[in-house]
């Protein structure tokens, strides 16, 4: 059955595509305009006539963008790693092991999934402040390392691994931990990767908690960094340099997305919530 697609559909989709891409185009293009050229425009120009790298140099020298960037990388790596350790262990306990109170504990965990972060952030702020952990990586990381939802996702996947494998491993005298590491994780790799990617996106973009818990620029993450740049940034309203910073901040996730496109979209379809 051959059917001609209505060209109006293509036009509609293209229009939305332009609407999505335009801000990205604008940010990149402005980042290459010189300060004087940009400010001389009364009517905004859609093209760069004289591209320059100067704004990128500015972004790394006039403001501590490098520090924000490094902080975010450190925060993202450690948080994701610890989160994986904590959630994988818990998911393994729930799916594979038997112990008194397991089902009750799992029900309680599921119920905790409904707790909105806005409700708990107040006390967490007070807790972390009173532990003197403001402006430390520990303070940034600790409340972000557990996610009930990821435990749930991993547990569902772990439960699908046939029991026979476990008994075979037990007969061979394999310990539980070794079984988890050598058998379970390799089989469930796609889910582990999904969880990892979702967490990395979440960490890279996190704004609220870092804003509450850091007021020393040395510990700012990129989201707070960009807000700081916007409000006190380059000493003047240097839009091209701000856009260069925005490009630098946006690039890592976009590259990650283009590499792992299918995995990320499948992962978000299963476990995403933004929206």
């Amino acid at each position: 059955m051959k059917k001609q697609t209505n060209p109006l559909i293509y036009i509609f989709l293209t229009l939305w595509g332009i609407l999505v891409l335009f801000p990205f185009y604008w940010m990149v293009m402005t980042a290459f305009k010189s300060y004087s050229a940009y400010n001389a425009e009364f009517i905004p120009q859609l093209f760069v006539s004289d591209p320059t790298w100067e704004n990128f140099t500015q972004a790394f020298t006039a403001v501590p963008l490098g520090t924000y960037f490094a902080n975010t990388v450190i925060f993202t790596l450690i948080t994701t790693a610890v989160m994986l350790l904590v959630t994988v262990l818990a998911a393994f306990g729930f799916s594979r092991l038997r112990f008194p109170g397991r089902d009750l504990a799992f029900t309680v965990f599921l119920a905790l999934m409904m707790v909105p972060s806005e409700l708990v952030v107040i006390t967490n702020f007070v807790t972390v402040s009173s532990l003197d952990l403001r402006n430390t990586f520990l303070g940034l990381i600790l409340p972000s390392v557990t996610s009930v939802f990821y435990i749930y996702l991993l547990r569902e996947n772990f439960s699908q691994v046939p029991d026979e494998l476990y008994y075979a491993a037990k007969v061979d005298g394999t310990s539980d931990l070794k079984y988890l590491w050598k058998v379970m994780l390799p089989i469930c790799r796609p889910t582990v990767i999904t969880v990892t990617i979702l967490k990395v996106i979440e960490c890279w973009n996190s704004y609220v908690w870092p804003r509450l818990i850091t007021d020393d620029q040395a510990y700012f993450l990129v989201s707070n960094g960009i807000q700081e740049i916007r409000e006190n940034g380059f000493g003047r309203d240097n839009i091209p340099a701000m856009m260069a910073s925005v490009v630098v901040i946006s690039l890592p996730l976009i590259v990650l997305f283009l590499i792992f496109r299918k995995k990320i979209m499948a992962g978000v379809a299963r476990g995403g919530t933004k929206g």
């Binding site: 400010n39 435990i151 609220v208 960009i226 925005v246 997305f257 933004k274």
Partner: protein, 297 residues
Amino acid sequence: MEKNNYKGWLYLLPAVLFLGVFLVYPLIDVFIYSIEEGYNTASGTSFGVGLYNFHYILQDPHFLQALKNTFLLVLVTVPLSTGIALLISLGLSAVKKLRSLFQTVFFLPYVTNTLAVGLVFMLLFRQTPYSPGLFNTLLGLFGIAPVDFITGPYWAKMFTLCFYTVWVVMPFKILVLTGALASVKQDYYNAARIDGTGKLRIFTKITLPMISPSVFYLIITGFIGAFKAYSDAVAIFGTDLNAAGMNTLVGYVYDMLYGNAGGYPSYASAAAVVLFAIVLTITVINLLVSRKHVHYN
């Protein structure tokens, strides 16, 4: 059969500890904070227990403004974004060529930093003494006078916020709806086509009922997400949202806790409890409505 022992708890221990300290305890604590009157952060003491904190925030003009902004944002963006997402997903499922390219492009806003791209939107919509900005230039082509969409009249600021919010939430909705449309069995369409059913009728009688669980899922998560809007507003109007008159409920909570007007965990808690009550009510209503209208297999 495995031994029935307590070793399993060891595996849960890290998760239980973290959840206990950073989720369960704060959850209980926030309700206690919200009813402690005159709580002093420094001394950790309060005058007594009562509803004064709620009374206070319900009279605070900043809170009422935040409440109004949030409700407007929810009422505009949730139907709008779900509707457009449905149109786009229908379009996507009708095309073969370039579909994957479109899907990739449409998903991009999901992986961008809200604060960073918000700055670009601020730039596109704002008006300065030196330039009307791009959006106003565009409006000028249609003979519309320039308006400052960032610091100008309330409706203009609301428009910018809604526009950006829709832009940000679309990827997730398109993704979910495209998946739902792809899973509708082709048999139904074939049968309808043989019967000579019209396109609109196919849509309302087959497609919509079949994807209704996904649509309702999106409406529920959309409501919850929009009620918790905050960083989008910060991205466009800056950190001092009260001054801009564009604060949201979540923003009010954080501002009460910290920042220029901060240092009042009790008021922040009361506001958080109110927010939670609103979200819970709306979700329950949504669930009740969906039970009547959603077609679950």
